[in-house]
Amino acid sequence: MDLKELKAIATREHQKQDKTCIRCCTVGGCLSANGLAVKENLEEAINEAGLGGKVDVSGVGCMGLCSKGPLVRVDPTGTLYDRVTPDNAWGIVASLPKQMDRQSSPRIMPSQYQPNNHPFFTRQLKIVLENSGKIDPERIEEYIAADGYQGLYRVLREMNPESVIETISRSGLRGRGGGGYPTGLKWETVAKAQSDRKFIICNADEGDPGAFMDRSVLESDPHRILEGMAIAAYAVGASQGYIYVRGEYPVAINHLQKAIRQAKRLGLLGSQIFESPFDFKIELRIGAGAFVCGEETALMASIEGKRGIPHPRPPYPAESGLWGYPTLINNVETFANVPTIIRKGSDWFSQIGTEKSKGTKVFSLAGKVCNTGLIEVPMGTTLQQIVQEMGDGVPDGGQAKAVQTGGPSGGCIPTKMFDTPVDYESLSKLGSIMGSGGAIVMDETTNMVDVARFFMEFCMDESCGKCIPCRAGTVQLYQLLTKIREGKSSLADLEKLEALCDMVKQTSLCGLGRSAPNPVISTLHHFRGEYLALIPNHHSV
C-alpha cells in the first residue's frame, strides 16, 4: 500500500458518494430501537420504487440524538428523520427530492431537529465524532475516503518519532480518560524508556455508569482508533498494541474485529506499513465486567490473564507496564483525536478550547433531559448551554437541580454553577471531575443522598479488596449513608461520614478508592440541606 493506492480508494468512494444516500443509524440506541429493520425496509422500498442503483442505503454509526432514535438522514440534503419505524420506510422514499410528484405513499415529516438549525447540532464541533453517523463503520474504504490513514502515512514517511511527539505536545491534547495528563508528555516518557519491547494499550473499558462515548466511537468509527494507536506506536517505538474493550459492548467488539481484519488486508496494520520499516499489530482483549479494570495497572493485570487488581505506582506503566515492559496506555477518545491533529496540525487544534484545556470533549448527555445522546463541544462550553440549549432542559417542565459528571469518581454540580465553562480545572474546582464524559442531569425529584448512596454502593461492589481503606471504608460509608437515608442518624454520624470520606480519599491505593468519596463530598458541600433534612431534630442539638 502506498499513497497512490490510498488516494485511488478514496477517489473510487467519492464517485459513489455523489448520488443520494439514505443513512440509517445501526448502532447503539437506534439498533435497540429496531434500526436494522428500518434499514432493511428502506432497501426494499428503494427497490420497489425502481431506484436501486440510483439511491444508496447504508448503515452508519451514531448521529448523536440517541433518545429520538432510530434516526435516518437523507444526504446530500442532510434531512433528518427521527423515531422512524420500519413502516415509515416507504414514506421516506416517497419524500426523496425527485420522488415528490409521484406520491406513491404518504410522505413523512422530517424531524424538528435538523442538523443545520437545532442547537443540539449547531453548538457542536466534531473532531472525535467527525465521521460518526457519516461513514459505514464496517467499510474501511469509507474511512479512507474521509481522509483516513493519511495521518499515518504522513507520520511514517515524512516525520520522525520526535517530531510526532512534538506535534502532540504542542497541540495541548490531554488524556480524555478523566485525569487530563498531557498526552505528549506521556508519549515522551515511554519513548525515552530503554527497552527492546514496548506496548501500546487502548483503554476501552468504559466502566463509568452513565458514560457511552467510547462505545459510540468504537462502534461508529473503529479505524480512527487503529490509526491513532499506530501513530502512537511509531512515536514511542512499540510494535504491539492491545485494545481492552468491555465485554458488554458486543457491537463495538464486532466492528473492531472487522476493522483490524480489513486494515491487515490492506497492509495498514502488520509488517512494513506503507513500505516503511514500521511493524504494528493490534490484538483485542475482552473485559469480563470489572470496573476496577479501568485503572491502568489493574487493566494490565487483566490483559496478563490475572485478577484485575491494581498495584502501587511508581513504577508507572511508562517505565514498567505490561509484563514489565514500558507501556503507553491512553483512552479511546485520546487516540481518536490523534489522526486529526496530525492531519490538520497542532496549531489548528490548540486554537480550540480554553487556555489549559485544548480541543473538544465528547459528553454523553443523559438522565432527566429532553435530548439525550452524544455531543462533542469545544472545551469551555458552559453547562447551561449543554443542558438548556442542547438538551432542551428537563422534560415536562421540570427544573434541573444538578449535573453529575465523572461517574462514581466525580461529583454533582448544582444549577447555580451552570455558567461555569467546562474544562479540567473548573470542574475539579467545583469538586467534580471531567471524568470520561458522562453528564447526567438530575431534577427536583432526585434526592442527592440517594445519589451519593447509589454511587457508594457501586464502589463498594466494585472494590477489588486489595487495600483496606477502600474495601472496608466503602462499606462503612454505605452503611452510614443508609442510616442517614432511613432517618436514624444524628449530627455525629454526619461528622463521622466526613472524616471517613477524608480517610478513604487519602489512604486508598488506586484511583477507585481515592475517588470513591467524591460523590459524597460534593453532595455534602452543595446540598448539605438535604442531608440535614434527614437527620431527626438536628436543629435542637
Binding site: G207, F212, F291, G308
Partner: protein, 169 residues
Amino acid sequence: MPITQKNPQTHPSSDKRFRMLAATMKRYQYASDALIEVLHQAQELFGYLEEDLLLYIAHGLKLPPSRVYGVATFYHFFSLKQKGAHTCVVCMGTACYVKGAANLLTTLEQQYQVQAGDTTSNNQLSLVTARCLGACGIAPAVVVDGNVEGHQTAESVIHRVEECLHHGS
C-alpha cells in the same frame, strides 16, 4: 473422573464442546495469559463454568486451580451457576437509575419471586443487574434474551418478559 496431566487436550466425556475448548487453548499456545479469553470461550460453549470445567482449563493452561477459580470469581461476567432458560438484565447505570430502574427491578423481583442475581425455581428466568450497558440515551434499558429494550416502564418490561417466557423470544 480425574483428568490426567499428561494429555490435557482430552476429556473423559465424549462431549465435543471440550474438543472445541481444547482447540481454543491450542490457538493461544496454552499461554497462561490467555486465561480470560479461554474462560470467555468456555462460558460461551457451556453457558456457565462448573468446577470440572475450571479444573480442565487449569490443567490445559498449566495453572494452579486456585488461580483459575480466583479469576473466574473475580469478574462479574463469569457465572459459576447454571442460568435459567431466559435472562432479563436490568441496567442499573446512573442514567437508568435516575429514570427509575430500581422500580423496574422491584417489579420484576415481585412478579417472578426471584432476587436479582438468581434464577427462578423452575429454571425459566434469570434476573440479572448490569452496571451500565452504555444505552443511556434510551434509559431505562433492559436486555431480554440478548435484545436491548429502551424507554421501559414496569408494564412494558413485564409484557416483554412474558412474551419471552411463553413464545421463546
